[in-house]
């Protein structure tokens, strides 16, 4: 009895040591690049940063008061909200419908379709954006096709036109995110009991009825997840706008997103890092609020769920 007690605590000590030492490397990275980083970001919001002299100067909340007079910010918020408003519903709906079609038992060659559909997810946004810039350029295939079908008379400058550029980026974003969300839906549809469909068929339900009354209600929790991921993704959109506009957000700020604006303030000519940090935290708060609202809305009106 007397010997077993120190034995047990020695084992326990070993477990503690292993537990902490296994966690330590990851925790160190998280501490430096997450926790310290967040605290640093908050500190920056109250200061003017001078990168060359390495000084941080208190600036009497000027970073915050600047928010109120920033016209660029309003434009970026409008663009980002418009972008999310179109892209999120579109990507969710297309992903759901494509998953429903692909999950149908009659369909053969699923693997082949999945490989093709998955291509955009595998490709870097850097390469995708260049490919889209190519097909949408003035001499590019899209313009040529529209002209040969006589839909338009002269080529449209999709890449550098205030009317079109953001829309092309939207189309590209929907096109490139649908496959990932479709795969998420598919993974869940595997578990949907086929007998539900069969029962509905006996009651005379057609394919649309089945989608509406069985598949969509069944997938509701997944839809919440897809919508939230979509919101987070669209509100953080950066790569595509940056590459399309060469970092400017142009033409005439029509592709300026909040993320791009943060980048411009922080790493552009003026190096207003303190103000950029305020914008970043503002973006985080906006994303938090919008996702909460979307979650409430999607969970709240569960009429068909009963």
């Amino acid at each position: 009895m007397t010997t077993s007690k120190p034995q047990a605590s020695k084992r326990q000590m070993e477990e503690w040591i292993q537990g902490y030492s296994f966690l330590a490397p990851a925790l160190l990275v998280i501490f430096v690049f997450f926790i310290l980083s967040i605290l640093f970001a908050v500190y920056l919001t109250f200061h003017d940063v001078n990168l060359i002299a390495h000084t941080y100067e208190w600036n009497d909340f000027r970073n915050f008061s600047n928010l109120l007079t920033d016209k660029q910010l309003i434009r970026a918020l409008q663009n980002t909200a418009f972008f999310a408003l179109i892209v999120v519903p579109a990507q969710t709906a297309i992903a759901l419908i494509m998953a429903y079609v692909l999950a149908n038992r009659e369909v053969k060659g699923k693997k082949f379709f999945r490989l093709i559909y998955f291509l955009p997810t595998l490709t870097s946004s850097a390469a995708l954006t260049l490919i889209f810039m190519f097909i949408f350029n003035q001499n590019g295939p899209i313009n040529q096709m529209l002209m040969s079908l006589q839909i338009i008379d002269s080529p449209i400058n999709f890449i550098n036109d205030t009317e079109w550029t953001l829309r092309v980026i939207m189309a590209m974003n929907i096109w490139s995110t649908v496959p990932y969300f479709m795969t998420i839906y598919l993974a869940s549809l595997v578990d949907l009991p086929h007998s539900l469909y069969e029962a509905a068929e006996i009651d005379g339900a057609n394919a649309i009825d089945k989608l509406r009354f069985i598949t969509i209600p069944y997938l509701r929790p997944i839809t919440t997840y897809v919508v939230l991921s979509g919101i987070i993704g669209t509100f953080q959109m950066f790569d595509q706008a940056y590459i399309f506009s060469g970092g400017t957000g142009g033409p005439v700020n029509s592709t300026l997103t909040v993320s791009l604006l943060i980048y411009q303030y922080a790493f552009g000519q003026n190096h207003q890092m303190g103000y950029a940090a305020v914008l970043a935290i503002l973006l985080a708060i906006i994303i938090f609020i919008v996702t909460r609202i979307a979650e409430k809305l999607n969970g709240g009106n569960g009429i068909e769920n009963s």
Partner: protein
């Protein structure tokens, strides 16, 4: 008779949707591929034929020959090195942390776990500026470590590994311990090999994230010879402002996709597994 006709009609509709969407998905890649084998004059003249009349591999030859001043091979190797080292570090750190949080008992574990989870909600934009300053102060600007260190762990994957180890059979470890293996030895020799499917799932997604990352290399790398493919591609595009060398840019874009497609074909089931785990949250 009527139902047979109906199912046939439905089948045609299903395939029409599937093939139509496959076409929309493949359309940009098809043109990129076609353009990469065309001479520039043919592209700017705006021909609508996919197959070139003057089929040429000159752009691929250019990209692969360092004598022509192309740094493509260098960029390719840089991407490969960064992605491989970054993925390897991630696998060890995430798996060890997940194991520790699931299996080992020590004071403060629960609090640490929730603390780590909370970090998942912080958007990258908030971390971007302070991390840049931290990296600069560490003297790591323009080095590969600037890309690897801040991404050395992935909190989502720590979470995934913890879930995996929660349902991992205990007797395996106990048997190894009875055979005289140390705690650490048990983990590296027995537990990690048995966790291979989960680790492979992590690996493909982490590798892809490193390979496709655009923002960090753009921010941290200053020397052209150190560039990764994603920023290198932009250089190729910018280098020819006068007349866009679309054929060269498209050839390079296609080449950056190929390794990931190969990865996808080999590790197909791990890709699907990863999506599944994500979706189940």
């Amino acid at each position: 008779m009527k139902t047979a006709k109906k199912t046939r009609g439905l089948k045609i509709l299903l395939y029409a949707i599937l093939i139509g969407y496959a076409f929309i998905t493949f359309y940009p890649f098809m043109w990129a591929l076609a353009a990469s084998f065309k001479p520039l004059s043919e592209i700017t003249s705006g021909s609508l034929s996919l197959i070139s009349e003057h089929f040429t591999t000159e752009q691929y030859d250019y990209l692969f020959s360092p004598e022509s001043g192309s740094m493509f091979i260098q960029w390719f190797l840089n991407s490969l090195i960064i992605s491989t080292i970054g993925t390897t570090i991630n696998l060890f750190l995430n798996t060890m942390a997940g194991y520790s949080l699931a299996r080992l008992h020590y004071p403060g574990r629960g609090k640490i776990y929730y603390g780590i989870l909370a970090m998942m909600m912080v958007p990258t934009q908030v971390l971007l500026i302070p991390n840049y300053l931290i990296i600069t102060n560490m003297g790591l600007l323009d080095s590969y470590w600037a890309l690897i260190l801040p991404a050395a762990v992935n909190i989502g994957n720590i979470f995934m590994m913890r879930q995996f180890f929660l349902s991992f059979p205990r007797d395996v470890e106990e048997a190894a311990r009875i055979d005289g293996l140390s705690r650490t030895g048990t983990f590296f020799r027995i537990v990690m090999p048995l966790a291979k499917p989960s680790i492979a799932t992590q690996a493909v997604f982490v590798f892809m994230a490193f390979w496709n990352n655009f923002m960090s290399p753009m921010l941290y790398l200053k020397t052209q010879s150190k560039f990764t493919l994603t920023v290198g591609l932009q250089m190729l595009q910018k280098a020819d402002q006068g007349g866009q060398m679309w054929n060269r840019v498209m050839a390079a874009s296609i080449l950056t996709i190929v390794p990931i497609i190969i990865l996808y074909i080999i590790f197909n089931r791990y890709f699907l597994q990863g999506v599944r785990m994500d979706g189940e949250k």
